[in-house]
């Protein structure tokens, strides 16, 4: 189990600007 700690999978992240674009469609429905 201890071994697993050394093999974390890198999660690729979009940039701040890309994130904003992704979000526009998702949250517009909330009042």
């Amino acid at each position: 189990k201890g071994q697993r700690q050394h093999h974390r999978v890198l999660l690729k992240a979009p940039t701040l600007a890309e994130m904003e674009e992704m979000n526009i469609s998702e949250e517009e429905d909330s009042p």
Binding site: R4, Q5, R8, V9, L10, K12, A13, M19
Partner: protein
């Protein structure tokens, strides 16, 4: 319904379980609708950041990369949204800068990377992320923190700006120093606050407000220092720029008043234990301009003394102050053209910029030094006022 059996804190693992469909509710209640001045006043500093991180930990524990990604993206966008909507409010900017930094520190402290684990307790080390490396998201959060910082500086600047000239230059606290003013300079009023609306006390009070709210939000001490340094720079630059444009500010007595005001600001730094913030150093050009107003300006020795004293002023600034210098009583005289020539010749080899005015809009680059927390995640409780009853402590 299952009976809610109270558990001991040691039974918790410092995670918060939530359903994927509750993620928008989490962002709404914890970020979008949380008012720093309302419920948040009584929270432990950085609580929103800890809660979000504990949710990330649970998604990591489930090995659900989509859930982790989605939460991080919604969190970052939520914070951006709040700042877009209420970012001109000082408390909102300060609150979310503090929490964004705390979230970033959590992602480092529990990343499992040894460099960030040095100050962890053994229990904290057990709480490190197990499945995912979120280094790229840390970079995005750091970029976000820079944006919020810049926004915060602009907000603080807007609040401080109207006070600077009236308080630092126009208002006279030292009674009797100015003596008789030269004819024609007496009634000049260039700011709305000339009636004494703003004094140095107004600036000090404003600095106190900024400082106490930042402390209340748990802003990193190193970050508070950077904010204060930036504010002092703005005060110094705006004051000096106005001095360089106003003949009525270039007198021996104004020099005295400015030095007194600067000493009060320095006193404030000392009182708040911020002397090592670099804030005082940003006032150096103003301090030297005030000294320049007060020293003798006649002989070659005087010229030499001025040149070795005024290292933080450009030649253009030194010459301008000398040209504007206006005696306020019969014991003083204008600076002779010959003296100014001497100064210019002596400073010829200086390779400084021809710039007269300081860039009052300049923002120093900000850094967010790692600041691990001693808070034990498993002890964190969520007040019901946050409306996060759908989160389960794990």
């Amino acid at each position: 319904r299952p009976v809610n059996i109270p558990r001991k804190e040691k039974d918790f693992q410092g995670m918060l379980e939530y359903k994927k469909e509750d993620e928008p509710k989490l962002v709404k209640n914890l970020i979008l609708e949380l008012k720093p001045r309302g419920v948040a006043v009584n929270l432990i500093p950085g609580l929103p950041a800890y809660i979000l991180f504990m949710c990330v930990r649970h998604a990591d524990y489930l090995n659900d990369d989509q859930k982790v990604r989605s939460l991080l993206t919604s969190t970052i966008n939520g914070i951006k949204k709040v700042l877009k909507k209420r970012g001109d409010d000082f408390e909102t900017a300060s609150f979310w800068l503090s929490n964004t930094c705390r979230f970033l520190h959590c992602l480092k402290q529990y990343s499992g990377e040894e460099a960030f684990m040095k100050h962890n307790t053994p229990r904290q080390n057990e709480h490190c992320l197990t499945n995912f490396d979120l280094a790229e998201y840390r970079q995005v959060l750091s970029d976000l923190a820079i944006q919020i910082y810049q926004q915060l500086v602009r907000v603080l600047e807007n609040l401080l700006q109207p006070m600077i000239v009236p308080a630092m230059l126009e208002h006279e606290t030292i009674q009797g120093v100015s003596g008789v003013k030269p004819p024609g300079l007496r009634k000049r009023t260039s700011s709305v606050a000339d009636e004494g609306t703003y004094t140095l006390d107004s600036i000090i009070r404003q600095l106190n407000t900024f400082h106490s709210i930042q402390c209340q939000h748990g802003m990193d001490p190193e970050l508070i220092k950077q904010v204060v340094k930036q504010l002092f720079y703005i005060v110094g630059a705006v004051t000096l720029n106005n001095l360089l444009l106003r003949k009525d500010m270039c007198s021996w007595s104004k020099g005295m008043q400015i030095r007194y005001n600067v000493s009060q600001l320095e006193e404030w730094l000392r009182d708040k234990n911020l002397m090592n913030s670099g804030a005082k150093e940003t006032l150096e050009p103003l301090i030297q301009a005030a000294q320049l107003l007060q020293v003798k300006k006649k002989t070659d020795e005087d010229a030499e003394a001025i040149c070795s004293m005024c290292t933080a002023l450009t030649t253009a600034q030194i010459v301008k102050v000398l040209n504007l210098y206006t005696p306020v009583n019969e014991f003083e005289e204008r600076v002779s053209i010959g003296f100014i020539r001497t100064i210019q010749i002596r400073l010829r080899d200086r390779k400084d910029s021809p710039q007269l005015l300081m860039d009052a809009k300049h923002i120093f680059p900000v850094t967010f030094p790692f600041n691990p927390s001693s808070v034990a995640l498993e002890t964190i409780q969520i007040p019901s006022s946050l409306g996060l009853g759908f989160l389960t402590r794990v």
